[in-house]
């Protein structure tokens, strides 16, 4: 009780009225680059600020406000990932059925109509890469949410596969199957919409 009282009486180390102006865009970029979805990113920013308000009396200024808020956002994103892991079963099944046609069931050869064809672009042309990146963003939106979560955790946060498996309750082999399917799916989607 004594501790609580001190916290209430001492002035806050952080002024919530300045958060939006100072950090909203930064946090939004952080969330969006991982989730690639405007609406979800916005929701998580709001959740982050509201959660931070609840905890602000305990913020001691040991880390910067920005680091502290980013930490809260990271937890919100992790919660979001975990929720997706348990609910995207139908979505995953549909995506899996699509992938079944990619290879010959017998010998594992590419089926002709699904086989990779060169995009025919210079990998270093920034304009083309930007355009391709835009198409990729649309493709990412169509991925089963669990797959995007796994892909994003690996690529954007550089987490080990072991850590991701624990977070999302996946087995090691499951993890690699998802990474493979995600890449097959994205590649096919890019090929379909490029040109």
């Amino acid at each position: 009780m004594k501790e609580e009282k001190t916290a209430i009486n001492s002035p806050l180390k952080s002024d919530p009225a300045t958060w939006v102006e100072q950090y909203a865009d930064y946090l939004y970029r952080f969330a969006f680059s991982r989730l690639r979805n405007e609406e979800i990113a916005r929701d998580l920013i709001q959740d982050t600020f509201l959660a931070a308000l609840q905890q602000v009396s305990r913020f001691e200024g040991k880390s910067s406000e920005k680091t502290w808020l980013t930490g809260i956002l990271k937890n919100k994103i992790a919660d979001f990932y975990r929720r997706q892991a348990s609910k995207s079963i139908t979505e995953i099944r549909t995506a899996e059925i699509e992938l079944q046609n990619f290879f010959d069931a017998d010998n594992g050869h590419w089926n002709m109509q699904h086989s990779p064809k060169a995009f025919g672009l210079d990998d270093n042309d920034p304009m083309l890469l930007k355009e391709l990146g835009g198409i990729l963003n649309d493709c990412l939106k169509k991925l089963p949410a669990l797959w995007l979560s796994v892909f994003s955790m690996k690529h954007m946060d550089d987490l080990t596969s072991e850590k991701i498996c624990i977070e999302l309750k996946l087995t090691g082999s499951n993890f690699w199957v998802i990474m493979h399917r995600t890449k097959l799916n994205l590649r096919a989607c890019l090929q379909k919409h490029w040109n």
Partner: protein, 88 residues
Amino acid sequence: MTGALKKIIYNCKQATFLIEKRTLGKITAAESLQLQLHLTGCSICRTYQKQSTLISRLFTGFQSNELRLDAEFKLQLQQRIEKEMNKN
């Protein structure tokens, strides 16, 4: 070449799986050899490999610098925070 080995070496599904696993994790020496042999003979999977790398690069290199929340959303957020602050 034995039938089993042949089957593995010509299996594009397995080869593309190994490409992903090699890039982000580890594959065994035997798998690495299989993949090498496969890629030598399969131009389609070489194209896949190139595009797979490009996709990872595009994903991680996503430029978010120019992204902004719109003013109206920020205003709502600000009002929400102030309202919550006044509750306490």
